[in-house]
Each structure stands twice: as structure tokens, then as C-alpha cells.
Amino acid sequence: MDAAIVVRGLGKSYAGQAVVDDVELTIERGECFALLGPNGAGKTTTVEILEGFRHRDAGEVTVLGIDPARGDRNWRAQVGVVGQSVGAPLDLSVREMLDHFAAYHAQPRSTDDLLTAVGLTDAARTRIPNLSGGQRRRLDVALGVQGRPEVLFLDEPTTGLDPAARRQFWALITNLRAAGTTILLTTHYLDEAAHLADRVAVIARGRLLDVATPDALGRTLRLAVTVRWTDEGGRHEVSTRTPTATVREILASVPTGEVPDLAVYRPSLEDVYLAMLEHTE
């Protein structure tokens, strides 16, 4: 079967400044894919082009086999969108909101199922302006999946949420993914991308730096291991791809007793990510 999302040579600039530069992506059906990058990296612009909200300057894009710039209502019915700003909170209860938007879909999920799925059953009668930030985002997701979309776009779904609300949100995304929905989410949280996504694309200044599974992300950068120790000459820090050999040499020079401050560091995903971003500065 065709990939859910195919992006080739995508480019977009504003006032001569490239915000998306030659981006290539292929996202398979049923995959959960994260676009990870700092603010202003081009994540939202890329996603809004895929959603059919923005024009592109260059490249080929298909979502479910259709160019989003030409997507009609039938195409939209298969694409769920949870944007960053979705209007001022309407003075409706959560249930009224879901009941209203059910009218836009051919086969909407039932309001009760949605409330259960996003954990808002107890808040069903609460007016939206009185919801917490996390509850509002969960309502946004409920509205995004109400029409049973095949592809779901989530643009920075957890920005501004407290840690507990983020964890709850992750559980919700994990469930959607298990149900077979193709998900493209943008985030500037590495832990979020690593926790949720099958594959992660790191983007900075409009360019893709790496596309890999969370474990394999920045593999070449992760080969370099840091070894630290102290001797009469002071503190030492060595970056090496052969840490065992380095440690043997140190041990040979200190035949007995402890090597002061000996430590071997394998770079964390966070270190790798930050190193990648530094390379683009």
C-alpha cells in the first residue's frame, strides 16, 4: 500500500528567507512520526502545508495519495487536524461542543466514546472556558479524531501542559496509535518524540538533520564516548570511539588503587540532539 505521507524536495520561504528547505519525508500508514525541533525550525509550516492550509514554493507532497493543495471534502474527511490555535474557547459545555461537531462528519464517533477516550467524561458538563489547559488540548484531540481520520496531525499538542497532563496526553496518543491511526506530531520535547514516535525527524532552520528511530537517532554522534579521570597532571577528558582501549591505558598507568574521578559517559539522546542543533548554528 502507498505511504500515508510523501514529501519530496519541499520548500517554502517568506520574504526571501527559507523556512522549509528541501525536506524529504516518507511516513508509512499506521506509523507514529515525530517532527522534532526548536521553535522556528519550520515544523508548523511543514505541517500546515501537509494539511493544505499553506502554499508551498517547491516540491511534491501527497497525503493519502492526494496533493493537499487540491484536497477536497472527501480528502479532508480522512485527515484529522489538531492545530496550535483553534479559536477562542466557545461558551459551550464539552458535550455540547462534541455533539455540535458530530454534524460535520459522515460517521462520527459517539460523544460518549470520545469522552471516555480522552478522559473527559467527568468534565462533560463543564463549559470550555472553565477547562484546564490539558483538558482543552484533550478536547481538541477528541474533535480531531471525531470523524475517524486515517491521518492525524498534532501540532505541538503538549506545549504548555504540566508534566502530569503531558503523561496523560501521551497515553491518549499511544491508544490512537494502537488503533492504527497514522500520526504526525510536532514537538520541541525530545522525550516526547522518543516516547511516542516510531521514527523521529530532527528539523532545524527548515532543514532535516536526521530521520531515524529514537534508538538510532544520531548514531554517528553517539559513537563518541567521553572518558574522564584525574591524575597528577590534573583533570582529563577524552572523547573516543574506543573507550575500552582508553580505559586500559589509564589502568596501566595506575597499577594499584582507584583512579580518581574515573567516569565513562555515553551521550544521552538529549546530548545528541543538542549537538545536532549546535552543528546548524
Binding site: 490555535s85 455540535h100 462528519h105 459522515a106 492504527g180
Partner: protein, 270 residues
């Protein structure tokens, strides 16, 4: 895994849901309700009290003349001004983006707005006419024919106000300045169109400017419904000009619809 995508619901069904939603939201916003209902009634109270015993040309009392003008103004505010401000705001805050993402047909969105405008205009006119009739003893249209005139003028005026409201929301201003821009246009038109002053006594250039826009025709049409027939001799043309009124209002509706259909946007930038 591949389910045959079923056809999205017809625009009319979504339009019906939107009409209900717009009405609920309107009545949950007290400031909006009070302003929409209060403005024409308040103006009636002020002007009819101050000029209680004045008469204008043709033996018509000022308060009777003013009722026609302020009824027309109420229709314009509830359609043109309310939509011009509201739609720009909804585009700005992303509410329209949400509808675009759902593949909402624009006509369904307009149906919801139209239902809200028609409902609020009707309630507003009823409260205005009740105050005019029972607090100031202003006479109502004298027979069915005059009520029918009142009805078609009100409906055409409201429709032209709506399409122009949608059109003005497309002007390139920030959502926040929309209310200033739209309210200024509405205010100037009130002075130019014979709402507060007797139209035939306005300078000719003011009358010429007003004749281009719907409000002048709306107030004149309202006068033809509320004023005694003899008062038409005091009009600039010496008649009620029903043909012209209908033609100008319909022309604005047609031109406005064409502009909206070609240029309506869900988002302010791309």
C-alpha cells in the same frame, strides 16, 4: 484497513447545526445581546424624548420619521456591523481555521450567520416597534400592504448588510482593528443616510454619497412603510422609489455574493 470513505454530510445539515450553535453562542454573550437590542431602542428613547413635539416636512412627527431610520439602522448593525466584526475576529483567532480543517462548506458557515442575524434582527425590530408604539404612540404601518413593504425592505436590507459584512471582514486589517473600521463605516453611513437628520435637508453631496450604499435605501423603504403616503412628496424625488430601492439592494446582494464567493478566506495569511 481501507474503508470506503463515506460522503460528507450535505452543507444544509451542517448549516442547520451551525444556525443552532450561533444562536446559543449569541444568547450566552450578554454584552452582545444587550448592545444589539439596546442600541436602536435607546436611540429611540433619547431622540423621541428630546424631539417629542417636533414635526418634519409633510406633517410627519420627528419621532415617526426617526423610527423608520432607526429601524433601518438596527437592521444594518445586526447584519453588516455584527458580521463584519465577528467574522474578522473568528478568522483571527483560528475559529475559521478549525472549520476549514473539517472541510466545512463556506455556505454552511454563512447559513449559520444568516440565521443568527435574522433571528436577532427580528427580535430587535419587535422590541423597537413595541417601545415606539406604546411608549411614544408612533403609528405602525397602516395596512397589510405597508407591512409587506416593511417585510421586503427589512429582508433585502438585512441580506445586503450580511454580504457586505462578510465582504468588509475581508479587508486587510488586523482582527483587533476590525471593530473600529466597521463601526466607523456604519456610523458615517447613519449620518449620511437620513437616520438622525431629515434626508432631504442634507447637502446634495452627502445625499449622493449615501445613495450609493444600501442604508439610504433601507431608511427610505422604511419611511414608505411607516409614514403616511402624502409624506412621499417631501422626499427628494417626490416618490418612495420602490423600484430603485429593490434594484439597489439586490445589486448589492449580487455584487456582495460574487465578491464573497471569489475572495472568502478561512485564514488571514498563507
Amino acid at each position: 484497513m481501507t474503508t470506503t470513505p463515506s460522503t460528507p454530510p450535505p452543507a444544509l445539515r451542517i448549516g442547520r447545526a451551525r444556525a443552532k450553535l450561533e444562536l446559543i453562542l449569541f444568547f450566552r454573550e450578554p454584552a452582545q445581546v444587550i448592545f444589539s437590542f439596546a442600541y436602536p431602542v435607546l436611540m429611540m428613547l433619547i431622540f423621541a424624548s428630546v424631539f417629542r413635539n417636533e414635526t418634519v416636512a409633510g406633517g410627519v412627527t420627528y419621532k415617526q420619521y426617526f423610527l423608520a431610520g432607526i429601524a433601518a439602522t438596527g437592521i444594518m448593525l445586526a447584519s453588516f456591523q455584527a458580521l463584519g466584526i465577528r467574522i474578522a475576529l473568528e478568522r483571527d483567532n483560528g475559529e475559521l481555521g478549525r472549520l476549514q480543517a473539517l472541510g466545512t462548506p463556506p455556505v454552511a458557515y454563512f447559513l449559520g450567520k444568516a440565521a443568527q442575524v435574522l433571528a436577532t434582527s427580528t427580535l430587535q425590530l419587535i422590541s423597537l416597534l413595541l417601545v415606539a408604539r406604546f411608549a411614544f404612540d408612533v403609528s405602525m404601518p397602516i395596512d397589510t400592504a405597508h407591512w409587506l413593504t416593511f417585510a421586503w425592505v427589512a429582508v433585502l436590507g438585512s441580506l445586503s448588510g450580511m454580504v457586505l459584512g462578510v465582504a468588509v471582514s475581508l479587508l486587510p486589517h488586523q482582527g483587533r482593528s476590525a471593530d473600529t473600521v466597521v463601526a466607523s463605516i456604519a456610523l458615517v453611513l447613519q449620518f449620511f443616510s437620513g437616520v438622525f437628520f431629515v434626508f432631504s435637508r442634507l447637502p446634495a453631496w452627502m445625499r449622493d454619497v449615501a445613495a450609493v450604499f444600501p442604508l439610504k435605501w433601507l431608511t427610505q423603504g422604511m419611511r414608505s412603510a411607516f409614514l403616511p403616503d402624502a409624506a412621499k412628496h417631501a422626499e427628494v424625488s417626490g416618490s418612495w422609489q420602490h423600484g430603485w430601492t429593490a434594484a439597489v439592494l439586490v445589486a448589492w446582494i449580487v455584487v456582495g455574493l460574487a465578491v464573497c464567493a471569489r475572495s472568502f478566506r478561512w485564514r488571514s495569511s498563507d
